[in-house]
């Protein structure tokens, strides 16, 4: 098995899920013959045919809504929204419908569906193609919100999302699509959907991140190691529902914490995580929890994009601030 990148891992998980379960379908814009604008669905049309790999007309609300109808009938649609900046017309279907059918009907009907969308910046893309809007989904009860940070995580989490009996928003950071490759064993093993993952163990400080920011956190951990600080790095992976226990346990151990989020500061999901830890690890905290985030501004166009994005160096600076806090 050769090494594959994140978008190939998504492709592999989709193919595996479709091969395993004929109820799994993929649909979305340009996901058929074109294989998706990022090639996440490359080859699926040829292998599984038009019934199961369906290009849709250009209408996001409908992509969500039709997935709901399919899911109500027992299919397991995996829909692609071409970029998370175009997911907004679909929120009505997610918040008012997909997330509610189970509870509204006391379990008679349910929506096992996945809405995949590339997200985040750093690829010099056009306007609206670099959004980190994950927080918008985290206050919707009945949804799961998942963001992978590596090929392996993408493979295992996507399989889990597809097999989950409830609706999942699955956000894939575009700048990780081809950034790194690693060996991914295509054995159909899913990762748990209710777990944060300790990606690196450490004793002095906990770095918490998700999606593309996990790489910055890991890089910062290396920088910190060089300076004699042992950082634990946790990949949140599933934002909703949150695995508070893993996060709190780590900070109870380390006493210090930096949360890294690409999204704008205010109202971002880092607030929720900080609140949980500030509560759960209250008596262990040796320094204020730091948040390293995007600014409360619109993501700039490509020329200034790099200035907007949080980087490992900022994480390290924040970590050092936490280390010297007294």
């Amino acid at each position: 098995m050769s090494e594959i990148n994140l978008v190939q891992a998504v492709n592999l998980a989709l193919a595996r899920a479709m091969a395993d379960d004929e109820k799994v379908l993929v649909l979305g814009q340009d996901i058929g013959i074109n294989g998706g604008v990022f090639r996440a669905t490359d080859g699926l049309l040829k292998r599984f045919g038009e019934d199961r790999v369906r290009d849709t007309p250009l209408a996001e609300a409908m992509i969500g809504g039709i997935s709901i109808g399919l899911a109500l009938q027992g299919f397991r649609p995996v829909a692609e929204i071409q970029f998370s900046g175009f997911i907004y017309p679909c929120i009505d279907q997610l918040a008012n419908h997909a997330s509610r059918f189970r509870t509204r009907t006391r379990g008679r009907l349910s929506c096992p569906m996945v809405l995949r969308a590339p997200c985040s910046g750093g690829t010099k893309a056009l306007e609206h193609h670099s959004e980190s809007n994950e927080a918008m989904f985290t206050n919707i009860p009945g949804l799961r919100v998942v963001i992978p940070s590596s090929p392996k995580m993408a493979y295992g989490l996507l399989l889990a999302a597809i097999r989950d009996p409830d609706p999942v928003v699955f956000l894939e950071p575009t700048r990780l699509y081809r950034a790194v490759s690693e060996e991914v064993v295509d054995d159909g093993t899913a990762l748990p959907l209710d777990r944060c993952f300790v990606r690196r163990e450490g004793t002095d400080l906990t770095l918490i991140a998700w999606g593309a920011m996990v790489r910055e956190a890991l890089e910062s951990a290396q920088q910190l190691e060089a300076r004699g600080v042992s950082a634990e790095v946790i990949d949140v992976a599933t934002l909703k529902p949150l695995d508070e226990a893993t996060l709190v346990a780590s900070v109870q151990k380390t006493g210090r914490c930096v949360i890294v989020q690409e999204a704008p500061l205010s109202g971002g999901y880092g607030g929720e995580i900080a609140a949980r830890i500030a509560d759960g690890a209250f008596s262990s905290l040796l320094a204020p929890i730091q948040r390293v985030t995007g600014y409360d501004t619109v993501m700039p166009l490509s020329r200034l994009e790099q200035i907007y994005l949080p980087k490992a160096a900022s994480v390290t600076t924040a970590a050092e601030r936490a280390m010297v806090y007294a």
Partner: protein, 370 residues
Amino acid sequence: MIETTARPARRESAHFEIGYTRYLDPDGKLVAPLPPGLADPVRAIALYSALVRARSFDQKAVAMQRTGRLGTYASSLGQEAVAVGAASAMRPEDVFVPSFREHAGQLVRGVTPRELFLYWGGDERGNDFSGPREDLPNCVPIGSHAAHAAGVALAFRLRREPRAVVAIFGDGATSKGDVAEAFNFAGVWKLPVVFVISNNQWAISVPRRNQSAAETLAQKAIAAGIPGEQVDGNDVFAVHAAVAAALERARAGGGTSVIEAVTYRLGDHTTADDASRYRNDAEVKAHWQEEPIKRLEAYLVALGRWGKDDQERLLQETKAEIDAASAAYLATAPQALATIFDFTYANMPADLQRQKDGALASAATTPVKG
């Protein structure tokens, strides 16, 4: 100057026609021969009974709301023939996707009056239909269920099942992009779905003419390349026949249809509304002359198939059923606190379990949380 032919620059590239169908006029006279199935008086009586049952449910529900035993309620007074006509044209294995004003159709489909009372009384168990298990519950966000109907229809298509979907929504709903998108998807994929527009002339206070400049709402179908037709929505025969034909077409792979049933909302929008603020009584009074029950009754009476006794028996039976359902609803104990949590996910997340545990613990000490 270059010479040119005298041909005009413009040629016709497409043309379209919308039709309007009525069998039974407001006085109960047939204006055209009925399709075979409907000419059978037994059939007509069944439809009539369904209309009366729906209205009886409505009256009870409004009365219960007035006395604080039901939440805000949306009556279908005057437009019962739309939902009854549509639902009665369906097969059991089809799927009904209603808006929130189609109890008349839900009752035909086998949703029980008690379930409907539970729903409108604020109890989710009302959506756990014992009868049509695959029918969708009411949809309050206007027009958003059109997409679900298309999705369910796609499922039928993919499984090669000879089943079809009927979705109903109002004149107001046709202004929503959701509905246009659903028409378009269903059209291009030839999905077995019949979209019924229950045009009752009002969307709360907004009259039909302020909703769209389109001469008919049926012509919204043209945008999606699918057939659109108008029917007299107070003529249950016309609705039934049109929906039945559209369903047959859908099952045979012929694709999607739009049927605009032209009717009138005789009541307030809901029990929370006061229609006298925005429309005058004269308009309403005039439309009472066209309501669907009276005309079908006149037809049956003229046919010699319906007498005072029949009428009394029907009213009595219906009242008994609805009263019993109401009593059963009122006797239903509220759901346990745990049910708030238990259906949020199939697999209860640890985070939510903790919240549930906390709620149960605090409920053990106080009557309600807080």
